[in-house]
């Protein structure tokens, strides 16, 4: 556990990428494989299912420290991280000068995981005895593990880079070996670091290749004939695997969603053995995509009744061919992959290939792009015909050329502190538009301001608070912000009757008065236009 705490501190105490990779490399070289497997599990963002409720942990902390409920809430609002609050409050406990040290794998396998099935009194006794014996930084990590929230502030790209350095393998190989689900164990880690690593789990997906937003004029990309232009479908990016008679559907978030889309899975059984496709899961009817909201409704349902399936029939629109006949195709240029894909799917009408959009030139494409909203798509994808299928977000060969977002001018009405890094700042904002003489909240937005603006707005909020409701403050309705969003849909759960998709702050309109903000009517018009 101490080694993990050292690693956590080393990662936490530097803003330098190189120093982070160095710390990770050192860890993987030194840690025993059974511990390294667990560290890797957390470093790649995987989480334990919660072992205890936070309510229990809070209660035990209060018993040990005599902190009343209201004060605990006050402290939590100021820190924004439960594990940290507990570790800080328990700092008053007497601790042994020579704390006990156990390997990470022993902590997890012999202490933490068995906790789940124990009766509450025993859980309490154990956790409290650990708290009393551990240094503060380890209490913090322990609490994070108990609540299933241990995230280490490091991107998986850096973890992969460090592992690749230790294993002397290309980063893309390491990324692939880490895909899918795996159990953190000595055996797993040893297989991971073995030179051949050939023992491929048949469900294992390839790392997704992600496009970067196009910020320069498309003409700067050169001749249009070098590019495949596709619609940017608004669904769930997925990877469909058919190997050894089984089918697996992965989302881009590396979540297995096979069971959520039985119609796609069933169709996949007709694919040849050893096929892996990259594509988009869409609600799709009569050869046309339905609005994302339809798919979203379906995702929200626990039971997939025939009615739900009929309301939002799903299809898998195919982008790319990653594996054919069990052979990795990613190193081939897109032109060749696409040709093989067309040949493969010729007799599979259930798997439409995302069509190439033909146009005379960039200008013609730009005007075609304006049809995006009517087509329920988000704009274009531009893929270089020569490109291999790469790993992660690599700039240069794949671009997303999105349609301009919707905008609305809205008034800041409420604010509350953010979490983690932003826990002591008001960064969680609620915005309103006019309905007659009233301001009606329509959306929240968190991102889009610079650090300097966040600081300035935070000071303004504190100085112009009207009322406090727990952590939430209502403020003078004076500040106008231009918000951007991707779509608008009806929502019975919101007072305004509508919900914005991907809202973010585009600009702080200090040049505008609250009266200049938009009205609910204008948003409702958008809603009708896009329906």
């Amino acid at each position: 556990m101490r080694r993990l705490a050292d690693l956590y501190d080393a990662l936490d105490q530097t803003t330098s990428t190189n120093a982070k990779v160095e710390a990770l490399t050192r860890y993987f070289q030194q840690a025993p494989p059974e511990d390294a497997a667990w560290a890797l599990y957390f470093l790649t963002g995987q989480k334990l299912k919660r072992l205890l409720t936070t309510k229990l942990l809070v209660g035990w902390t209060q018993e040990l420290t005599g902190i009343p409920d209201w004060l605990f809430a006050e402290v939590y609002a100021s820190v924004g991280d439960l594990a940290e609050v507990i570790a800080l409050l328990l700092d008053t406990l007497e601790r042994p000068s020579e704390p006990e040290e156990l390997p990470l794998s022993v902590w997890l396998e012999q202490r933490l995981l068995p906790l789940r099935t124990k009766p509450p009194t025993e859980q309490r006794e154990q956790v409290v005895s650990w708290w009393r014996a551990m240094p503060r930084r380890e209490v913090f990590l322990l609490d994070k593990m108990l609540t299933g929230e241990l995230r280490v502030g490091v991107s998986s790209t850096l973890v992969v880079r460090a592992l690749a350095k230790v294993l002397e393998l290309p980063a893309s190989d390491v990324a692939h070996r880490l895909m899918g689900t795996w159990t953190p164990s000595r055996a797993f880690f040893e297989r991971l670091v073995s030179k051949d690593g050939a023992d491929v789990d048949r469900s294992r997906p390839y790392p997704f290749y992600l496009a970067s937003p196009l910020e320069q004029p498309p003409a700067s990309l050169g001749a249009p004939r070098d590019w495949l232009v596709e619609w940017k479908w608004d669904g769930i990016r997925g990877q469909l695997i058919h190997r050894q008679g089984d089918t697996f559907l992965w989302s881009r978030g590396e979540e297995l969603i096979t069971d959520r889309f039985p119609e796609i899975t069933a169709a996949a059984s007709t694919l040849p053995e050893g096929t892996v496709l990259d594509g988009e899961v869409l609600a799709y009817e009569d050869g046309k995509p339905l609005p994302f909201a339809r798919l979203q409704r379906r995702i929200g349902r626990q039971k997939l009744t025939p009615k739900v399936l009929a309301e939002a029939p799903a299809a898998f629109i195919v982008y790319d061919l990653l594996e054919l006949g069990g052979v990795d195709q990613r190193a081939l240029p897109l032109r060749e992959r696409r040709a093989k894909l067309e040949a493969l799917l010729e007799d599979h009408p259930r798997f439409p290939i995302s069509p190439a959009v033909e146009a005379a030139g960039w200008e013609a494409l730009a005007s075609t792009r304006d049809e995006s909203r009517e087509r329920n798509v988000e704009g274009f994808m531009l893929k270089r015909w020569d490109s291999t299928y790469q790993t992660g977000r690599k700039r240069g060969d794949w671009w997303k050329w999105k349609v301009d977002p919707f905008t609305v001018d809205a008034v800041l009405l409420y604010a509350q502190p953010g979490h983690g890094r932003r826990s002591s700042l008001y960064t969680d904002y609620t915005f309103a538009v006019w309905r007659g003489d009233d301001l009606l909240p329509v959306t929240k937005a968190y991102s889009g301001l610079t650090d300097e603006e966040i600081g300035r707005l935070d000071r303004w909020i504190r100085a112009h608070t009207r009322e406090k409701f727990g952590p939430v403050r209502s403020v003078e309705p004076e500040q106008v912000f231009e918000l951007h969003f991707e779509a608008i849909q009806p929502s019975p759960r919101h007072k305004s009757g509508l919900a914005l998709r991907f809202p973010r702050i585009a600009r702080w309109r200090t040049d505008k008065q609250p009266r200049d903000a938009d009205t609910l009517d204008s948003l409702e018009e958008l809603l009708h236009d896009s329906a």
Partner: protein, 354 residues
Amino acid sequence: MVPPGTPRYLKRTVDAPTPSQVRRPLVTVTPQGLFCEPGGFHIDPWRPVERAVITHAHADHARPGSQRYLGTRTGEALLRRRLGADAVIDSLEQGERRTLGDVTVSLHPAGHVLGSAQVRIEHRGEVWVVSGDYKRAPDPTCAPFEPVRCHTFITEATFGLPIYRWEAPRAVAEDLVRWWDANRARGRSAVLFCYALGKAQRVLAELARLTDRTVFVHGAVHALVEVYRDAGVAMLPTRLVSDVEKGTSFAGALVLAPPSAGGSTWMRRFGEAETGFASGWMRVRGNRRRRGFDRGFVLSDHADWADLLRTVEETGAEQVLTTHGHAEPLARYLRERGLDAAPLATPFEGEAED
């Protein structure tokens, strides 16, 4: 009727008053700041007034423009720097009594920075103490805090939450030296941000017990280090960054600079540097991370939670008014422990400097 749970302090005018309660409060909040009416003076006023009693020379406590000032003898040089050559400044020795209007005023060590004081006000047998900023942790650069018995204690509450608990300054200093050494070993400079008045000198004095190496300082820090040296405070030798010849490497150096220097072009000369911040705010991880410091060193010139509670107890005050920072939770906690406590309504201030 007043609602249940209203502090007794606020109920005064409603409950049947006893003779002693008929008295008006000795200190009230006015648009200019804390005001002692029978004494005819303000304490650390926000706006220019006729007569200002100043607890210490930090910018949010000592503002220019008032007609006359009263402060401590040890703090006079710092106050003069802040207020300018023309300011009319009277000084008192710590504990020396002075009659102002109908009250007797004296200043007592607050342990915050050089020359910092609490203000004791006595009026017909009733004693109020305004703490100003204070701390109880040892500090080689200033006189330690002295608890003063009083009826009403106006206490700061900058760190008035139980998560704030300070380690021994000695341990923090050792940690600082380890950080400096680690950067030296890698040929990097270590830039430690800290407030130019008080914290920087405290760091230099704490480190003087562990090493004798020279520390580089920003101009804003340098000027105040000189004032501390004149006052006889022992600190590490310092060199002004701007005195160093252009192109000289700062590899292995420790540099002290005010937080405002962070991210400025001034930083470029240090090349590959690690940054740290010495402040009580560094107790919470999110504070450090959002400001982008590599390291946080928890070293505060304010009292932590336990010391706030201990100090309130040691004053023997029947009534406690809280101000700055987490004034509300501290007052409520004290009320629940049976004290007559309430937050003192003061206008908005940002996160206090520490």
